[in-house]
């Protein structure tokens, strides 16, 4: 197990390095530079600014300087919000994004799995059709549409919940719902499929022959086996939800990291682009790693692969 983790850590760092390099190259391939855009800056001043931020050096030197700073954990100053480091901005913004993401994820996993299980247990009956209707709706309608519709109906028309902002539990409901709905749908559909498959397995017949009740069979024998394939997609899903916050944060005016991510590209704010991208990439890599570890705990057959046999 330890060996496996060490090996995986190596791969993870390599992956991150590839992402850093690619982002760096692509970012600099964009036309213009940070001081060219908004208002006309006189040429000598622009040159001074470029020199101050080291942007006049050859690209490969900038690349190595960036890597060196990164190795110390420094992501640099934002070129746009000149008084703030990218580290600070992530530290300030990410808790909001993470809060929203975790809420959406909890909502998505619990609701999605429950819907899927209910659908499978009532195969081809009313509950199944209802759950799958919700699922099809959730997959097909994009979250910004859901978000704005919810704002209009629940906040503006019915005045039940605040339209925007992030100041308490009431504020979290709509964005979490809008953000999680797609994942609910995906989870429900997957869980239904795998659950139906598992319920047809021979070992379920064995469990019945032991005299277990339907509830015991579902809880002890079916769910754990049915959840395995669902756990596999959990890693990418976590990231999906995190990146989904970009849109939702904008719609609901949540002071998270998402809006910086979008703005930084428009502004060609090099350190901010790099910083947010690396941060999200690292999260993704970590999420996938954690899912793999979790998988080995749920499925005993996986444990052997890294071991002696």
């Amino acid at each position: 197990m330890t060996r496996y983790i060490v090996k995986r850590a190596g791969y993870m760092i390599a992956t991150l390095w590839v992402i850093i390099t690619l982002t760096f190259v692509l970012m600099h391939a964009l036309p213009g530079d940070p001081f060219l855009n908004p208002k006309k800056v006189p040429e000598p001043i622009r040159q001074n600014m470029l020199a101050k931020y080291g942007l006049d050096k050859p690209l490969y030197q900038q690349y190595f300087i960036y890597l060196e700073n990164l190795s110390r954990g420094e992501l640099g100053y934002s070129l746009r919000y000149t008084q703030r480091t990218v580290n600070d901005m992530i530290r300030d913004g990410f808790p909001y994004s993470a809060d929203l993401g975790v809420r959406a994820l909890i909502f998505a996993i619990t609701t999605g799995l429950t819907l899927g299980i209910i659908a499978a247990l009532n195969h081809n009956r009313g509950w199944d059709y209802t759950a799958m209707l919700v699922a099809v709706f959730g997959v097909s309608v994009p979250n910004f549409v859901v978000g704005t519709l919810l704002q209009y109906l629940i906040s503006v028309k019915l005045r039940l919940l605040p339209v925007t902002g992030w100041e308490g539990f009431k504020y979290t409901l709509l964005p979490s719902f809008a953000l999680g709905l797609w994942t609910v749908a995906l989870m429900a559909r997957m869980m239904r499929t795998t659950m139906l498959e598992v319920l047809n397995q021979d070992y379920i017949k064995t469990a019945k022959a032991k005299g277990l009740s339907s509830r015991e069979i579902v809880w002890r024998h079916a769910i754990r086996n049915a959840i395995l394939p669902v756990v596999t997609i959990l890693g990418p899903l976590v990231v999906n939800i995190i990146t989904g916050t970009l849109v939702i944060e904008t719609i609901f005016a949540i002071p998270g990291l998402g809006r910086y991510y979008v703005q930084s590209i428009n502004n060609l704010d090099y350190p901010l682009i790099m910083g947010t991208t690396i941060f999200y990439a690292a999260l993704l890599i970590l999420a996938i790693f954690l899912v793999d570890i979790a998988y080995s705990f749920i499925d005993p057959r996986i444990r052997l692969v890294g071991g002696k046999e």
């Binding site: 070992y203 064995t206 019945k208 022959a209 005299g211 277990l212 086996n225």
Partner: protein
């Protein structure tokens, strides 16, 4: 001997999009305590469905027990509620299945899979269930049971898994063990071991066994009595000795002749039964075997034959038993049937 199980005129159908499949059509047989009966017949003859009906494990929908009665240990199984049935399954009847590779839950240790039933039916504590599970595993002939208990099914071979299945099925010392083709998925040497194990445990625990198989070698090794099924009906039944020594139904002859024999010339072609079983969506009105039977008469295609008792529990449903039927010699042992007329 005391009767443990009495199946009478059992009819089971499956309602599918294509119509009603008459899988079991009036099956009757009984089983005494401590006795073992084999139900033999080719694939699709309704032998597994009969077994599942006894356990009330027929998937419903689409399956329905249409009529007939199953009396197990004095209780009418078909009339019990699901909850009452749960108390019987596992506790008083155990079942093992054909494919040990898929019959065990891959994410649960063997110990938990055995002790689950014990905790539920006998109210044992986890510790008591554990020691009983250990006992069952060693009874089932699994070496180093303490170590093996905490392992998962993928760490066992096919034969070992079937032993685990037997341990699970017999954990609560049921009165009846239903073995649905327990050796079909195993290779020949392992088959013999599993049959020996079942025989051994039967004598130790005094369990009655219903053995479902199409392998007559397995039948000879284990069963006291044999029920031959064809197209959802019992065509012949009787003690194993009588049935092997003096079979009366042409289908039984066919089955017996289809068994490869060590003492025959290896160049000799294996005997087979030509044709295919009838369509159970619309079973024929007469004897279901008539279209494939080399001895079929006109009446065979028109009317179902009556059950003829030949004494000593030997029963056969065949028109050749009728007094007016032409005298026929059994191709299996050359003996004359229907009284030698």
């Amino acid at each position: 001997m005391e009767k443990l199980l009495e199946v009478k005129n059992l009819e089971v159908s499956f309602f599918t999009y294509g119509g009603e499949v008459h899988a079991v059509r009036g099956v009757s047989f009984d089983l005494n305590r401590g006795e073992s009966v084999a139900i033999v017949g080719e694939s699709g003859c309704g032998k597994s469905v009969t077994a599942q009906a006894i356990m009330r494990l027929i998937p419903s929908p689409p399956g329905v027990i249409k009529s007939g009665s199953i009396v197990f240990d004095g209780r009418e199984i078909t009339a019990l509620t699901d909850r009452q049935m749960e108390k019987i399954r596992g506790a008083e009847m155990g079942m093992i299945f054909q494919d040990p590779m898929t019959s065990l839950n891959p994410t649960m240790t063997v110990e938990r899979q055995i002790s689950e039933g014990l905790i539920k039916h006998q109210g044992l504590s986890a510790r008591e269930a554990r020691s009983r599970a250990l006992e069952m595993l060693s009874l089932a002939g699994i070496p180093r049971p303490e170590e093996r208990m905490s392992q998962f099914p993928h760490q066992f071979s096919g034969g070992m898994r079937q032993r685990v299945m037997i341990a699970i099925a017999l954990a609560c010392s049921p009165k009846l063990l239903i073995a649905d083709e327990p050796t079909t998925a195993l290779d020949v040497t392992i088959q013999a071991q599993i049959i020996d194990l079942m025989k051994d445990l039967q004598s130790k625990l005094n369990t009655s066994i219903i053995l479902i198989t199409h392998d007559l070698g397995v039948v000879a090794g284990l069963a006291n009595r044999v029920v031959v099924m064809y197209a959802g009906q019992v065509v012949e039944s009787g003690s194993a000795e009588r049935l092997f020594a003096n079979p009366q139904h042409p289908y039984t002859w066919g089955l017996l002749r289809a068994v490869p024999r060590m003492d025959r010339d290896i160049r000799e072609e294996l005997h087979n039964i030509p044709g295919t079983p009838p369509d159970l969506f619309a079973p024929p009105p007469g004897c279901p075997f008539a279209p494939r039977c080399g001895y079929a008469m006109k009446i065979c295609h028109r009317e179902r034959p009556e059950v003829t008792s030949l004494g000593d529990g030997h029963q056969v449903s065949c028109w050749l038993q009728h007094p007016l039927a032409p005298a026929t010699l059994s191709p299996v042992n050359g003996g004359a049937i229907n009284g030698g007329k």
